[in-house]
């Protein structure tokens, strides 16, 4: 995996993420999650009940199919 080269590249970054997020999974995964959640916070402010959100269900796929010709 690409885990090893990344470790050596950004040991400091990774440590910060690990400390903050509390995940001991791969450094890349933790980084992605931290970035994702911080972006959402900046955009959505304090109140952002997300609900179930969009999922590409069978129903949705059929709708796309019907729309494309």
């Amino acid at each position: 995996m690409t885990e090893r080269p990344e470790k050596s590249k950004s040991v400091l970054d990774r440590r910060a993420f690990l400390r903050g997020v509390g995940l001991s999974a791969g450094a890349a995964g933790a980084a992605a999650m931290a970035v994702g959640s911080s972006n959402a916070d900046a955009k959505a402010g304090t109140e952002s009940r997300q609900g179930a959100g969009y999922r590409e269900t069978e129903h949705v796929r059929r709708a796309y199919e019907a729309a494309g010709f």
Binding site: S48, G51, G53
Partner: protein, 196 residues
């Protein structure tokens, strides 16, 4: 992550107003309010085109920026929703919105407009998914049901597209290629711009 977008294909829209009616019925939209509308430009003249418009769920949404009580929020899917419990009916979002989306139950005097209402991309509001409160204030939450906005799903000519922005633009691009002309989509660049 999927970014929800609307697109209306002007080459297909026939101004049947099916989308307006579908929306009105699905969400029991209050009297006097239409979350969606269809406009025909150059009516009866060469170059006549019809377009269906509602809230475009803008990136960097102007409504969100000017609301004095900060009652808007954008979901992870890019859908711009608002909290009617916080809204004071000041009308600012309507002044700022490029697409004239926000509507008010009464156009009465003294700023007595009532709580703002607009298209939710069929994604309800801040209340619990499928709760009675959500249904009454914002209408049905089809997104949580794993469906797409009803206006687009019911569009007879499939002029109105809704859903994951990547899917929508793929479908539209295929159409444009098959036609061999035209690539503009009203409001698309304006709503989503370079802002993603």
């Amino acid at each position: 992550m999927a970014r929800m977008k609307f697109l209306c294909d002007a080459e297909r829209c026939i101004h049947c107003s099916g989308c307006v009616t579908a929306c009105k019925n699905e969400h029991e939209v209050p009297w006097g309010i239409n979350r969606r509308r269809v406009v025909t430009i150059n009516d009866g003249k060469p170059g006549q085109r019809s377009l269906s418009v509602a809230c475009m769920h803008c990136s960097d949404a102007p409504c969100m920026a000017v609301c004095p009580v900060d009652c808007f929020y954008q979901t992870n899917d890019g859908i711009v929703l608002h909290n009617k419990d916080l809204c004071i009916g000041c009308g600012y979002c309507f002044y700022a919105c490029p697409f004239g989306a926000p509507q008010y139950p009464s156009t009465g005097n003294f700023g007595g407009r009532g709580k703002m209402d607009k298209c939710t991309f069929c994604a309800g509001g801040p209340e619990e998914d499928h709760s009675k409160a959500e249904l009454e204030k914002y209408g049905r939450n089809r997104i949580a049901e794993g469906k797409l906005p009803l206006c687009a799903e019911m569009c007879a000519t499939k002029a109105l597209l809704a859903g994951d922005g990547d899917m929508v633009s793929t479908i539209y691009r295929e159409r444009v290629m098959a036609r061999g002309f035209g690539s503009g989509a009203a409001g698309w660049g304006h709503a989503y711009g370079k802002k993603g």
